[in-house]
Amino acid sequence: MLRERKLKAIVLFGFLGLVAAVLVLTVPLFVNSYDFLLKYGKELLTSMNWNPPQNEYGGLQFVLGTLWVTFWSTLIATPLSISLALLAAELAPQRLRGLIAGLTDLIAAIPSVVYGYWGLTVFAPLLANTIYPYLLGLSKLPIIGILFSTSVISPQCVLTAVLVLSLMITPYATAIIRNGYEMIPKDLVEAVYALGGTKWDVIKVNLGYIKSTIIAGVIIAAGRAMGETMAVTMLIGNNVGPFKPCLLCRGSTITSVVANEFEEALLNPYHAKALTALILVLIVMGSLLLAFGRKIGKKFVEAEIVA
């Protein structure tokens, strides 16, 4: 086993291929943004004044927008995915469980650009005609009113992006939570029943048992939401003005501004480099999130691929 040159060469090829892939993915970002970062780096993360034709590159609103959208879509997706996972693993009649699980897995494979297009043509107009006028009425309330205060209702706004995004990431989180749930030892379940517990008691004990898996699933889903590009770009309204903690306003994220502006940005070298630097910032944000997740969840890598 040890002296097999051929096999060693083969796996070394795989290793070098992975190294090359990671280098190809990251090095061009550094090379093409370091002079921008030296010149405008501080402005990028402290100012909200984004005006590339005047060489003003304040990008804080994109960072905050990304966090804002990620926060809300994760908040909405969490109860949805726990409920779906419980249905598929415990509550639904035996015959339907496989169907629910299979369907969520299939739905997870729908590309984000398709969700975006569906959101744009079907979902957003519907929301703008039905729910959003009521939400606008809430803008008079103290404190939470700020979430809904906007002058005009726009079908494309932060809330539309958040809702579609939470739908998109729900199947990922569901798959991870369901996998964890199905691996709970049967002894545990039987012990609860033996003590006279109800089905509800079993669910409570089980959810406690897989707490770390649930957190891992939610964080992986949040990571997806953070890096998601197409659906967000199509739905968020793409307003590059200063960040407002608002749901009915048009907004922007790092990915949406990059997808929108990169092509035209090539006319102005610093503009393109600013967007490249924003991608680096996004990668750092994602790594911080997942490093936090990895501390909690054990089988993180496998969970990532399950999704």
């Binding site: 097999e4 051929k6 096999l7 083969i10 796996v11 070394l12 090829f13 795989g14 290793f15 291929g17 992975l18 090359a20 892939a21 990671v22 190809v24 993915l25 090095v27 061009p28 970002l29 109860p79 949805l80 726990i82 409920s83 779906l84 249905l87 509550l91 629910i100 299979g102 897995d105 739905i107 494979a109 729908i110 590309p111 650009v113 398709v114 297009y117 569906w118 744009l120 043509t121 079907v122 739908l167 089905k199 509800w200 669910i203 953070m226 890096g227 590009t229 197409m230 199509m234 990915t255 990059v258 990169f262 092509e263 490249t276 996004l282 990668i283 994602g286 993180f300 890598v301 990532e304």
Partner: protein, 281 residues
Amino acid sequence: MPRLYKLWIALIYLVGLSSLGVLLWVLGSIIVNGLPVIMKYGLDIFTKNIPPPMFLFFGKPEVGLAPAIIGTLMVVGIAILISFPIGFTAGILIAEFRHSRLAKLAEELASTLVEVPTITAGISIYWLLVIPMHNPSALAGGVALSLIMIPYIAIYTAETYKRVPMTIKEGGLALGLKYSTVLFKVIRGLVLPGVLSGTLMALAKGAGEAAPLLFTAGWNDKVTLNPFDQVSTLSVLIYKFGFSSQELWRELSWAASFILVFIIILPLVVISKMMVRRHEI
């Protein structure tokens, strides 16, 4: 309080089933809006060129999606040619030398590749290939996609090889066979479904990605088979035409969504899932 918990369970049913309902609504919309367009243009959708932007001025042009369908196949094909050799061999490293430091590092690298947002590949490859080549191309798009597909193949391969019982491998070794012979010949039947399943999942994932291709693959309303030409893909077409106010473009976006989801991605995913289910090791 036996009543209260029933309320909770009812709530879980409500939330779970309604989110499933909305997700099915997405699938349903694709059928309801996409299928009629395909019926309307018939086979032309699969064989004719995309109407040029100025079509309104030139009478009735041909209406089809052939360049985007071929473009998708080309880009994904190039990507699999790059990502399979790397992903498969890296997977073997991760599974069969799992206690070595190299394998652990490889696992780290693979998970890094999964975690990075997919638009990153588009921007990096733009600087790395599109600028020096002065042009977006199917090749650049394929390279960008391969970065996203590599970790899928690597981790599926590793999981599959890990699941083969040690006793079978030892049986082969005890007969005096080389380790490589055991891995690539003796247990081939056992690992083939798993590796193929991972490859199909990677293809499905790649076919649906738009973000890495926006700035790397370019756009073409005619069919081309030259990897150095710009190509359009179904995913990018859905995005570009989706914003239009022109009815025809929106119709084509729906048709492209239908083809992408129901003719390309879902069949790949279903076959992939069936393979592993039937050949559980």
